[in-house]
Symmetry: C2
């Protein structure tokens, strides 16, 4: 048993990647909701049964694509935050880069955005994990600012983090972002300035 | 000419009201998007041509219904704000009542919500006017707080008002609110506390 598992490991990984890459291309051409696993199998040249050996459902494939997309956005946000010094500037960057990176997902690839929207509507695990990681990044910046004396320390940090996350959320969540285009230019500046005023010691 | 206008005035007003009342009922039963002006005319017992004498389009009727709905929400918000003393408590009330009143529109009358959603998507005049009036109410509270010394005066008031409005907007706008249900309970408290921290002198 164990030898079978270990011998299947690396090969499985490659096949999974291959399915995800092909599915990403297929979904981005024809849309996520309109594509069935049968369509996908036909397009890749695998049998439907073979695909089901690696992913239990279309959503499982979508989750993997979504996780990759969100990982790219998160990397872009973290890079932007790490480029600058000081907690205040990092917080400004968090707001600015969240909007820029999320908007890019929307505008570059309307069809992949559809997957992100499904993920947000149905609260897929990938979307929940992403939310947790962005909240953790925010909390790190808050801690840094509290330690350096740049930010106030009276409010419980959980409360501060939750409130700021609620301010940021309409620009991170694809379902909300689509209704916020008109404000996407000015919002990061206005909102991060307001948040920084709320954090002043 | 002038006597014709003045003699038609009050009667026109009554007929317009009659159409709006009947349309509100009809839309709330069958939905706004699915109902045509012909359906409406049939239901009210007027000719389509007669309805077009008073409203140039279905949207014009929808705008009137929407304006009435938004007026009700605004009244509820203003009442809640006026019940309390002091700019800080008024601001808390503005957040709380905005969410409560907007949620009621959504949950009490799913079909009328559909009109509000159209209004927000297509930026109808009624929705824009409502936005302007809520911003004005917010600005009044800010002015009161600046005069009483409760709020800081360094930031230009326009900037403060715009930023706070952006924080409030996801809970006022029906398109955004539908994706914010999970946060509707805790958000007003968290967000108004954050905003009040940002306003401290």
């Amino acid at each position: 048993m164990s030898s079978e598992i270990s011998s299947r490991g690396p090969a499985d990984h490659d096949v999974r990647d291959q399915i995800v890459i092909a599915a990403t291309e297929h979904f981005s051409l024809y849309g996520y909701s309109k594509t069935t696993v049968s369509d996908l199998a036909k397009a890749i040249g695998f049998s439907k049964a073979y695909i089901y050996k690696f992913f239990e459902s279309k959503q499982a494939i979508g989750e993997m694509i979504c996780a990759n997309c969100l990982q790219d956005i998160e990397t872009e946000i973290r890079t932007a935050v790490n480029e600058v010094d000081g907690p205040s500037e990092k917080l400004r960057r968090l707001f600015k880069a969240s909007v820029t990176a999320s908007l890019r997902l929307f505008s570059d690839d309307r069809k992949l955005y559809e997957i992100a929207a499904s993920a947000a509507t149905e609260q897929w695990q990938a979307a929940r994990d992403y939310e947790v990681r962005i909240k953790a990044l925010l909390q790190d910046i808050l801690l840094e600012g509290r330690q350096s004396g740049d930010f106030e320390r009276k409010t419980p940090i959980d409360e501060t983090a939750t409130a700021i996350y609620l301010v940021l959320r309409p620009y991170l969540n694809p379902l909300l972002l689509q209704h916020n285009f008109d404000h996407a230019d000015e919002a990061p500046t206005h909102l991060s300035s307001l948040v920084l005023r709320s954090l002043s010691p």
